[in-house]
């Protein structure tokens, strides 16, 4: 089947969906259900699982039709579900029936998903995690603590990585599960952060039971499954290009415009430098997108984005605080909100400034990212590893 035929088919199906199910009138969940049934949630998935079995590149065509008719960006409504859970489920679920029973409510956003990977003792060294899953007949009994889980308090399902064999080296003893967040023994607690808000949660697992049917991939193969999850993550690379001056730097520019009496030549030079770096990164992202389009894979410029934007965010908000001067020492409120609007980057500048400290930690610390750039892009040798080849239980932790 030629890709041109597929492209025409995707556009035709999308056109029919918006004609029969006007996204501007229907409830979001109903519209997204129609998209799933038509195979437009993930066009590269098989028929019946929210896909049409066509090339993944055609998703953009479908999204363009659906979103220009007023449809939502589903990724924003169920980010872990759409970005990470769905590809992993479609690839590793034990049966199509089971996959479908997860995927449809995921697609409609009736059931939100979260991810239980990081632990208090396993951050950068994720493969060293300690949460255990012990087999008991047809079920697994899970004990441990997870942390930095966004949406855990609203999610119905979780992607869970747990240790099933402590006698193996760390990467080999892991198994991947889907955990019912409503199961007994699952307790979620808000994790308050330095901004005063609680965007994330801690999740405590005490004898929580998972049916073996909800295991994804083979026992001991959890690391490989987790990697396919991360590789499949819907990345920003497919998205359209940002405008010059948009993003975080827009905050600094708007404040600069709004507070002429606070301007100094030194601040002016700092802002010009920040603006230039933002622009260089914007152009680098645009170049990365063209590289993917023409070469089929991202070049080094793709790996640079996270590192730069995290440090740039911090520098931009440091600038904003310096521009504000005495005002920077005031704050809105340290009262915890859990109303869905707790995302701190939409709060006051002072709160955005505090929130930006996490940017160089979350989703890969800048130290780890520099290792990745050094080792995977530049091909430098890895550091000495004290845990290489050792059984996980022999490795000192703390």
């Amino acid at each position: 089947m030629s890709t041109a035929t597929d492209a025409a088919r995707v556009e035709e199906v999308a056109g029919r969906v918006v004609a029969d199910h006007d996204p501007r009138r229907l409830p979001v969940q109903e519209f997204l259900g129609a998209c799933f049934d038509a195979g437009l949630s993930w066009v590269h998935f098989p028929d019946g699982l929210g896909g049409l079995g066509v090339s993944r590149g055609l998703q953009a065509s479908a999204d363009a039709v659906l979103q220009s008719a007023g449809g939502p960006v589903p990724f924003r409504l169920n980010p872990i579900g759409y970005g990470m859970a769905a590809p992993t489920i479609s690839e590793h679920a034990r049966s199509p029936e089971l996959a479908r029973s997860w995927l449809r409510p995921l697609a409609t956003t009736e059931e939100l998903w979260c991810q239980l990977f990081s632990e208090p003792g396993a951050g950068s060294d994720l493969a060293g995690l300690a949460t255990s899953a012990v087999r008991d007949g047809d079920t697994w009994v899970v004990n441990g603590q997870k942390v930095w889980t966004s949406l855990a308090h609203r999610a119905r399902w979780a992607l869970l990585l747990a240790r099933t064999d402590p006698d193996q080296p760390k990467h080999k003893g892991l198994t991947y599960f889907v955990l019912d967040m409503e199961a007994a023994g699952v307790r979620t607690r808000p994790l308050r952060q330095m901004t005063g808000q609680a965007e994330f949660n801690e999740v405590f697992l005490e004898d929580a039971r998972i049916p073996d049917e909800h295991r994804l991939g083979a026992v001991g193969d959890g690391w490989r499954v987790a990697m396919t999850t991360l590789m499949n993550e819907r990345s920003a690379i497919g998205a359209g290009g940002a405008e010059r001056g948009s993003g975080t730097i827009a905050d600094a520019l708007a404040l600069w415009a709004d507070r002429p009496h606070r301007r100094t030549p030194v601040l002016r030079d700092r802002l010009a430098a920040l603006w230039t770096r933002s622009e260089a990164q914007r152009l680098t992202s645009a170049r990365a997108r063209r590289g993917v389009a023409s070469a089929g894979s991202p070049g080094p410029e793709g790996s640079v984005a996270k590192l730069v934007s995290a440090e740039l965010n911090q520098d931009v908000y440091e600038f904003c605080m310096d521009l504000l001067g005495p005002e920077s020492t005031l704050y809105s409120s340290y009262e915890v909100r859990r109303d869905g609007r707790e995302a701190d980057w939409r709060g006051a500048v002072q709160q955005r400034f505090l929130r930006s400290r996490a940017n160089t930690i979350e989703g890969g610390t800048s130290e780890v990212l520099r290792n990745i750039l050094g080792e995977r892009v530049l091909g430098l040798p890895g550091d000495l590893r004290a845990d290489a080849g050792k059984a996980w239980k022999e490795v000192p932790r703390g």
Binding site: A280, S294, P381
Partner: protein, 403 residues
């Protein structure tokens, strides 16, 4: 691979898109790189930089005649290849990576663009072909401030003399002037400031070579005393002509900075993999690895802004003032820092005369100063983006301490 085919199938294709790399461009890059490896390797660079005029005219002529890469942005009707500035910047990037000695900035960067932007005429038709084929070289003697023509700093006067003109005055620090066959000189005459063509070999012209920090890029003081001159661009067009020349030179200089920085990154990465201390390659230490990662980020940013500047000038897709300043602010800083870090990460050997790092470091210093340094270009950016910005509705909320 299926995804790639899909992209092509679904995207309405109306010519190349910014940041596309064509097969022809890859071949061009490979050809210049091959040429440099043969004609301008480390020992050759040292030989050329220590020679009288700082380069080998035979090598330059082969670049023009055999490779045909000196006039890629020159229209075909003038004897150029008519390819574009994007292609020319690929060549300059590779010449910068090899530190090839020759009048890259004077001839490709400044003189040819000034000639191309001048109005058509027999003088232009006469001068361009020999610069494109590399048999002659040229330099531009026009005052510049922060990469923009500065008419207030003119130090040369022009008077009518028979059918032509005579120029008198001194121009300090003219890049690539020593040994240049042709000097394009901005001078103040009875009808205003104009651009003139002066034969470099005229006996009324003295080019006094200066000892430069970067021996691979020479400068000279040009002294003219009633030097014979022909009018190339009059007072009504000199701003446009020199504007085009300085914008083009800024974009090409940025490409050269990318080439040099990439080379310094490459050799330093290679060294970090083979140099052993404490029983390990030094590149396995995070202090070294992370510095190299930062160098990579600088090079990638530099490359994006340099390519954007060339594309913007070639297609008119962006304000040339802003596009060249973004490139110069980014690339000047990137090349300098990458070259400085390359010296550092090489340790003692990086400080020796024998190692190539100091040659690139000196080029980085020089390139950063030429056509305006990073601070000056940030100042230009600030003037364009910050100074007249008005308060807009998009101001983020600022906490006032009252919940």
């Amino acid at each position: 691979m299926a995804d790639t085919a899909t992209e092509v199938a679904t995207e309405p294709h109306t010519g190349p898109v910014e940041f596309d790399v064509t097969e022809e461009q890859q071949e061009l890059r490979a050809a210049v790189r091959r040429f440099c490896a043969e004609q301008s390797d480390g020992p050759a660079v040292r030989r050329h930089m220590e020679s009288e005029h700082g380069h080998d005219p035979a090598v330059w002529a082969r670049l023009g005649r055999e490779l045909g890469v000196l006039g890629l942005a020159v229209p075909e009707e003038l004897g150029g290849a008519g390819a574009g500035l994007v292609e020319q910047s690929i060549v300059v990037e590779e010449l910068g990576a090899a530190l090839l000695c020759g009048p890259v900035l004077g001839t490709i960067g400044l003189a040819l663009p000034a000639l191309v932007a001048s109005s058509a005429g027999p003088l232009r038709d006469e001068l361009v072909p020999s610069l494109v084929d590399g048999s002659r070289t040229a330099a531009l003697a026009a005052p510049e401030r922060a990469g923009l023509f500065d008419p207030h700093a003119i130090t040369v006067g022009a008077v009518h003399a028979g059918d032509g003109w005579e120029l008198t005055g001194v121009v300090p620090q003219v890049v690539d002037a020593a040994g240049a066959d042709l000097l394009l000189v901005a001078a103040s005459g009875p009808e205003g400031i104009a651009l003139f063509a002066v034969p470099g070999a005229a006996e009324q012209v003295q080019t006094e070579p200066l000892t430069t920090l970067d021996l691979t890029r020479r400068q000279a003081t040009v002294r003219m005393r009633e030097a014979p001159a022909r009018l190339l661009a009059g007072a009504d067009e000199i701003d446009a002509v020199l504007g085009h020349a300085f914008y083009t030179a800024s974009a090409l200089l940025a490409a050269e900075q990318v080439g040099g920085a990439q080379h310094m990154l490459d050799v330093t990465v290679a060294y970090a993999k083979e140099r052993l201390q404490f029983g390990r390659p030094i590149g396995s230490f995070q202090a070294v690895k992370h510095r190299l990662a930062d160098m990579l980020v600088l090079v990638e940013h530099a490359r994006s802004t340099a390519q954007h500047a060339a594309w913007a000038l070639q297609t008119g897709s962006d304000d040339p003032f802003l596009a060249t300043s973004i490139a110069q602010a980014t690339c000047s800083e990137a090349y300098y820092r990458v070259a400085a870090d390359a010296v550092q990460l090489h340790g003692g050997i990086g400080f020796t005369w024998e190692h190539e790092a100091h040659l690139y470091f000196k080029r980085a210093v020089t390139d950063a100063a030429l056509l305006g340094g990073a601070e000056i270009h940030r100042d230009r950016i600030a003037a364009a983006v910050l100074d007249h910005v008005r308060a807009t509705p998009g101001v983020p909320p600022v906490a006032d301490g009252r919940a």
